[in-house]
Amino acid sequence: MTEIFALAAENLISPIVLSFALGLGAALARSDLSVPEAAAKALSIYLLFAIGFKGGVSVADHGVDAKLGLTLLAGVILSALLPLLAFFLLQVLTRMDRLNAAAVAGHYGSISIVTFVAATSVLESRGIASEGYMVAVAAAMEAPAILSALWLISRGEQSGRMDAGLWREILLNGSIVLLVGAFVIGWVTGPEGLAEIDSFIVAPFKGVLCLFLLDMGLVAGRGMQKGRGALGLGAVAFGILMPILGSFAGLAAALVLGLSTGGTVLLMVLAASASYIAVPAAMRVALPEANPSIYLTLSLGVTFPFNLTLGIPLYVAIARAATGG
């Protein structure tokens, strides 16, 4: 327990978390500080490319084993099943109607790539190695949760609307294409490729992540202000309890697979995080009657800050204790 508090305290005063806190505080204080839309987009492209490329290089360096396929499969299964747990928890903790509960549940089966990036940064700074292919697992976990959410809805009186265009948008959304594409480039070019561009994608990584998290803090803070009143106490409790339960599901899967300590942390983080990019867009098309104030405020305003500040150090400590790493 002492280690968890020490890790959490250390994490809380890291530049990454403090940058996020600055954005959050500025937004809540109604400052006019903002990161231009195009700049925020450029920062996210950089981060996705860098994390995908480094993941690919790691796979090229250490080789591929059967665990890659099994871990991908475990990620898909987690993404499909976690919404069922989230839906059940929402029905126990809140009075949310079926439609909104299913929409929220879909978000909690999918993943937050920014939380994943922040976790890899924490692992790097602590010298904890992880499987490079976890990047591919992150990409694979984006979509199955959406299907689960629509299945939950179809069991009631309503139904979601899925068409071929939406499938294409989900499976080929820019983040997934960039992440997987950079992963493949890193895999193909290997350590030699990394040596050519490492001054661009390794050294500046944390600084760029700080700026991006400053923007995420601003977005989360403004989301909290807009969504004020949309969430009851039960929903807020869900937003903190669900990632912890999700992380334990990720831990169980990682232990069965025999992942490294770093890989275990990353699978826990993926299972604990909630989407606020791919799934909200899919929900607006498939379930337009669901209230975006509820699912966006929960995933971006409650779960994301929790994971970034307390969740990641908690998952690191639990993974280290469980794997002996």
Binding site: E37, M216, R222, I277, A281, R284, L296
Partner: protein, 103 residues
């Protein structure tokens, strides 16, 4: 100068629905349209603005098209099929254009 009567249709809709709407409009015979970014606004679904959005899910756009009056019904039927379940505003106004053959 000679002008011709036409209808200007403005459809403000969620950005995620943009391509579905323009596909439907083209299917209904609309030959041209303009897409404008919408900075922000407020309505039955609450206030919102473009700044600081992390998801495509929250943005809005406005699709503007100018058509001959006799093609209005087909356009509105096509547009309504897309926007029916979604946040948005459909507005029709009279206007005049210089080159009628273009619409």
């Amino acid at each position: 100068m000679q002008t011709h009567k036409a209808k200007r249709v403005e459809i403000t809709i969620e950005k995620v629905m943009q391509s579905r709407l323009t596909d439907a409009l083209q299917g209904a015979g609309v030959t041209g349209y303009t897409i404008l970014p919408v900075f922000g606004g407020s309505g039955r679904s609450g206030a919102w603005d473009r700044t600081g959005q992390v998801s495509r899910a929250e943005g809005m756009v406005q699709v503007v098209c100018i058509i001959k009056p006799d093609r209005m019904d087909a356009l509105l039927d096509a547009a309504f099929a897309v926007v029916e379940r979604h946040i948005g505003v459909v507005c029709v106004t009279d206007c005049e254009v210089l080159r009628a053959e273009r619409f």
